[in-house]
Symmetry: C2
Subunit: 329 residues, 2 copies
């Protein structure tokens, strides 16, 4: 008991003084599923909370190949050069699906990783919520307490992860490719409607003209969609992360958004709602794990599911049978 | 016990012979929350299942004022005249919000209600799932077993109800107004992306030109969106429900869709997936009711929620405290 206390003290002290190793250790504690880590982790977070919140939380999504890594590196370096401290949290629910993790390898963003103002944390494995680690929100708190004033949370545009990431950031960007024509690259439904900005990357060289055309198309669509934030017109910007062009404009846009939503009180309101939603999402996830992880329920599920799918059993009955099993009736 | 058995037998016999009163009674039994009705209801549904499924399930949504009632009446009458038997299930999560129920009053669709081939069931109160009654899916089974081969499930475009209705129909239509310009009537995010067709109503008289313009705008947007069904291009049609113009084309389109998805096997696949999703949605809803309805949890929630929203308590701790209360720790 005593040694854990000391350890949490040491982590907090180190973290608050900007020690990266201690921040890493804090995140490892946060992500731990060991029950003996639960209380120390809670205590640590409770004590870090007063130091958190004063940051800009930015979500970045895009299909594989849209150039997220290159963009984050360019963008992150720009911010570091301006004196900001940048933490990159990468979320990758699909590394096995798409052949190659979008992260894990810090070599992916070597220049950024080596900058003293940057901290890159690869995607953790373990319990997930819509493809996002259950504890990513807590990790944000730790990074902020460690003095990182800009959080970049990256997600690959697969499954539910964008919705979850959107629910923990102030600003959500969609990075897209040029030249995919009208199909919009088979983008997942609804992703564009989550975006506070669409960034058309690789607007360089022979691709520039196509980028401008793509930008025009996105503007056309965005014109018809409701902006995610009241009073904010979702822009479509072009940039070249590779040649570091247009990145400054992206940062200017985000600052404009932050000022607007801070002044109007929308930012505070949004963060409060996000915290609340996160609480309920956590509780629901835990409830479902308990239910579907129940041995008796687990045994029944395949047969019942099959009968329901073949319209051989009404859903009401199927549901009742599962609950009977759960409650040991 | 014995009398209930007999009663279920009588309901089933009457229902299968097309007796509307017995269908109404069956639905009342399905919707009942009384625990003594649970088993008879289950038994009844189990016995009705073999007679269900052979229908076209159509969902219809649209903002208040889009003319859903008039459309459903015109459309329903057309189908009745063609010899179909049409059941209308109305879902209204927002009657108190928008001043006036979209249903309840059968006078709303008097001509259709009086047609011998039609059956109109107003929205039930009671437990809901995203604004849709927990048992609407079971009600569909009863209607189908009673010989209704076309189901029209109406929902007002508010909250989560469209998503839930979409999850129980074969074809989902969005009814829109003309003349709302580029704003698309402040439509809820993502609703258009659920639609298998967009129907621009009130395309008549002085409104006709505007309707054509609106149609063009919708076509432009739909062009950019992914269709909800592989191989299906989501059309934008105009009609005048009031003057009964263009309604036939809507029916032709739905038949085309049904043939396509039946031939390809997509329809069967979709229905199987819907049944499965419905099962999980039901289980989750019941789990959450049990948890948040727990007396000790209920007492804790307001205080904990407030602390989480004010960033005074980490979510992980808040969640743990609620579970401790639930498990009586």
């Amino acid at each position: 008991q005593k040694s854990t206390e000391t350890s949490v003290d040491a982590i907090i002290e180190g973290l608050l003084s900007g020690d990266r190793t201690m921040l890493s250790r804090a995140i490892t504690l946060i992500e731990s599923n060991a029950s003996r880590h639960q209380k120390p982790s809670e205590e640590m977070l409770q004590r870090l909370l007063p130091y958190s919140g004063d940051s800009i939380r930015i979500g970045i999504t895009g299909v594989p190949g849209a150039g997220k890594s290159t963009f984050i590196e360019s963008f992150g370096l720009l911010l570091c050069h301006k004196g900001h401290r940048v933490a990159v949290l990468a979320v990758d629910p699909s590394s096995t699906l798409h052949g190659g993790s979008i992260l894990g390898d810090k070599t992916r963003m070597e220049r950024l990783a080596n900058h003293p103002n940057a901290f890159i944390r690869p995607s953790p494995s373990g319990g997930t919520l819509g493809g996002v680690h259950r504890k990513t929100r807590e990790t944000i708190i730790a990074c902020e307490a460690a003095g990182y004033d800009i959080l970049l949370i990256e997600t690959v545009g697969v499954g539910q992860s964008e919705v979850v990431v959107k629910s923990m950031v102030d600003f959500f960007m969609l990075l897209v490719l040029t030249g995919a024509g009208d199909e919009l690259q088979g983008m997942k439904k609804g992703v564009m409607e989550l975006a506070d900005a669409v960034i058309i990357n690789k607007a360089d060289g022979g691709n520039l003209e196509l980028a401008k055309k793509t930008q025009k198309e996105y503007k056309q669509i965005l014109h018809f969609l409701q902006p995610t934030t009241k009073g904010w017109t979702t822009p479509a910007l072009t940039c070249s992360a590779l040649y570091e062009e247009g990145i400054d404009q992206v940062w200017e846009m985000i600052q404009r958004y932050m000022k607007m939503t801070k002044d109007s009180g929308l930012l505070l309101e949004k963060r409060k709602m996000q915290a609340k939603e996160w609480l309920y999402a956590q509780v629901k996830e835990q409830l479902e794990s308990a239910f579907f992880g129940n041995e008796k329920v687990e045994k029944l599920v395949p047969g019942i599911e099959k009968k329901v799918m073949n319209e051989e059993m009404p859903v009401a009955k199927a549901s009742r049978l599962l609950f009977d099993a759960f409650y040991g009736k």
